[in-house]
Symmetry: C2
Subunit: 484 residues, 2 copies
């Protein structure tokens, strides 16, 4: 499989093509130091054989921002060093920190914007990025990733809505790119050319007046010209369209652009691959071969493999899918795809982040702070007397399913096949009930459920039920309910 | 060429694959009657041999909405009938009206939403759509198009943010589809099965909580099930994210979703074709062959032809490109692509609409209410003494060009070739100056300009100037300015 092939990123031997991109955990201490919980989170990805682990954004500057890692002072190095040692001890996964600068935000809704920064502020940021990258190298990381995405400082300079009027802003693309260019130079001065430096940035801002993939191609080219060692693409997640909840600081993922950044169940799979593929093709045509990484609803192994096989991108970043199951890569390697805890994009993780709570996965056992350790294929959950008793009730255009609790079940995957097609998971639920509001008269639906344990071991499929709804006002198709 | 092939839509013999979709003109009378100006606008498209002309949205209900056509009463039929006669006299173009229902909006920012409608209101809307369709047939139209898109009533029922809690709303897709289903049935009762009925709807709402192409596939399938004769896809243009200008009624194209609906110069060409193609493939797989029509930055003839040749969609809708040059189809047929007045997506037309002013094209001669009549290839504009005197000035990451006025010029197309590639139009300007803010160090640019008359007849290319900017902080490339 292409997804299991190694890739060399400026000397960093990444064992496969899967990256866990930076995800907020809210598991660090308020003081910004590494805690046991946060270290465990990243060691878990290494145990699962993820190729490249990006540790969540850590601040390069002094800040009071709650539970957020910091790399703004040498005193943070020992904790980070111990974490990287544990990660490296666990497997041959590589690990880089995402380093971030962000501006001030207030509970009132006020936020500092890039046009409020003085030239001295900018010079300080440039130096802080360099120093933070040097600390990352000292702390045993295999490289470093610059956070040039979403609502944060670097991305706000690159943005089309950068409101500065001097050489660091305005309408000229070169001015918008000036800060990231100087930051790259500063980082190289501090870490040298033999240390991998990746960049995360947006292929589309998804805000009014924002930039699209047209600018993103040029931004990527500039990153390649400046010697970036990988380009990791995201989208949206901006403050400009964030929805302010009175009394809370603005959450960059609460608006439409935030919805695109972490697209939920109503969005198609792999939806942002075309942008990353267009950027890769553009940069390759200009003679650069810097690896390009796509993200966005890419947790289905077949889909990931197809994207890589087609050469659309070089690596795939999986956030929510790897949060749900850090053993995703290992299970794919062992041919145990059926054992993967499959993300259903319910976005409870996103809600926890938005509520400033520790981020976990809805599909984990109740109260779990981490994904449970993998005990390998064991006895999967079973239905009482071998019968799930799957029953269906129809109510005004919705299908309500219920079934019996299975012994040893932590959650249930609900499968639906449309018009005799392939059965796909439409939801993952903890309680033995499910309602489907997205059924259309004239299409034939067949449902079944499978009970799964904490490690994703799926028990036998339930009986199936079929739903053959009529087209309202037509009555040509019979509303036939059959047991399969 | 595929784009010049006819297509039969339920007996309506459309002579080619190009549609002009409904575009507000603000040329009708305040009373909703057809005026000379509005009739001329649509006759002009027929003279240009556009396959299917969709006349701008006309209200099916009594309303006080300024200069907006109405089809809410039999007294509007004679005016409409005269217009369709003139259109049919001009060429074999086919013409349908887009019929619309919209809710109340106030200058205060308040707007009526679908959850405020009573069941009686809904029954009235259903009947009004049927009656309006019958009037369309009586007025000599070749078919009718239901407006089920953007911020208006039908689309607001289909929307995922429909806030009703009864059988016409809520989370169930079937409930959201109930009104459009009943409207279709009412229309068929009034016009019979042998009158083409098309539907315009959204492939993606592009708002927070809105639907995506996943729902759009099912909505399209339902339209096919109900016997829609074509599906014309748009995106966005919603009130939910509209930006309220105090003292003005809400404009549905003022937010991010409105930006996607009429994407400007910063967006890629043909950007929404993938959604329409996905919908077509889905519906075809279900056994329906209803024609699917894509829109969105599709005015380049090569791009349009490629989209049709690939079978992605059956027809292409061109709004701004046909506003700029209603003779687009005729010029393509005659092999006179060089004579097309090429839309540069400056969106002055969109701004005029937003300001509630008569909509014209920036590239037309000053003061023109309509695209000038086509006088055929005549003497194109010429440079004084055969020299354009193209000069370039560099200023902080931007390129400023200026050149001499050409004799007979109405506007100038500015061409740019990147790294020796194909020269493409980056802007169309009325004055002989242009500033380019999207240049990147490390890329070689070559510019030239061509002067065009009112009919798009382009004069000889100017001299070219080359710009070879360095990568800031690198200085490896020389900032060489050469005259070509």
């Amino acid at each position: 499989m292409k997804l299991l092939e190694p890739i060399n990123i400026n000397g960093m031997k990444v064992p496969n093509r899967i990256m866990v991109p930076a995800m907020v955990t809210r598991l660090s201490g308020e003081d910004g130091f590494v805690t046991r919980e946060i270290s465990d989170r990243y060691v878990r990805y290494a145990q699962g054989e993820v190729g490249l682990i990006v540790v969540e954004a850590m601040a390069i500057h002094g800040s009071n921002a709650g539970p957020l890692l910091r790399i703004s002072d040498d005193r943070f190095i020992p904790g980070l060093k111990e974490m990287t040692r544990k990660i490296h001890d666990a497997s041959d996964s590589k690990v880089v920190p995402q380093i971030i600068h962000f501006l001030k935000i207030a509970r009132s809704g006020w936020r500092q914007t890039v046009d409020m920064l003085t030239i001295e502020d900018i010079e300080r940021i440039i130096e802080q990025f360099g120093e933070a990258a040097a600390r990352a190298r000292e702390a045993g990381f295999d490289g470093v990733e610059l956070h040039n995405a979403h609502a944060y400082t670097l991305a706000s300079f690159v943005s089309r809505v950068n409101a500065r009027t001097d050489e660091y802003g305005g309408t000229a693309l070169e001015n918008r790119l000036r800060l990231i260019g100087r930051v790259m130079a500063s980082v190289r001065r501090h870490v040298g050319n033999d240390f991998p430096v990746g960049i995360r940035y947006l292929s589309d801002e998804f805000i009014r007046g924002g930039y699209t993939v047209e600018d993103a191609k040029l931004i990527g080219l500039r990153m390649a010209q400046l010697g970036a060692d990988y380009l990791s693409l995201s989208v949206g997640g901006k403050f400009e369209d964030a929805v302010h909840t009175p009394g809370h600081v603005l959450h960059g993922y609460s608006g439409y652009s935030g919805e695109r950044c972490m697209p939920g169940a109503s969005y198609p799979d792999a939806l942002h691959v075309p942008y990353a593929a267009e950027i890769k093709a553009f940069i390759n045509a200009k003679g650069f071969d810097v690896p390009v990484i796509a993200a966005g609803k890419l947790s289905d192994p077949d889909t990931v493999e197809a994207v890589l096989q087609a050469g659309k991108v070089d690596m795939v970043a999986i956030a929510r899918g790897l949060l749900a199951d850090p053993d995703w890569v290992k299970k794919v390697r062992l041919g145990q795809v059926d054992r993967i805890v499959k993300c259903d994009y319910c976005n409870v993780c996103k809600q926890l982040d938005g509520a400033h709570m520790p981020v976990n996965c809805f599909l984990w056992p109740k109260g779990a702070v981490q994904a449970p350790p993998d005990h390998g294929p064991v006895v999967a959950p079973s239905w009482p007397d071998g019968q799930a008793g799957l029953a269906m009730k129809l109510d005004g255009g919705t299908v309500a399913l219920k079934w019996k609790k299975a012994t040893g079940a932590v959650y249930y995957d609900v499968y639906r096949a449309d018009d005799g097609g392939e059965a796909r998971i439409v939801d993952g639920v903890k309680l033995p009930v499910f309602t489907d509001a997205s059924v259309l008269g004239g299409v034939r639906y067949r449902y079944h459920v499978r009970a799964c344990d904490a490690n994703g071991n799926a028990g036998a499929p339930s009986e199936s039920v079929q739903f053959d709804p009529a087209i309202p006002g037509r009555g040509t198709a019979a509303e036939a309910v059959a047991r399969g």
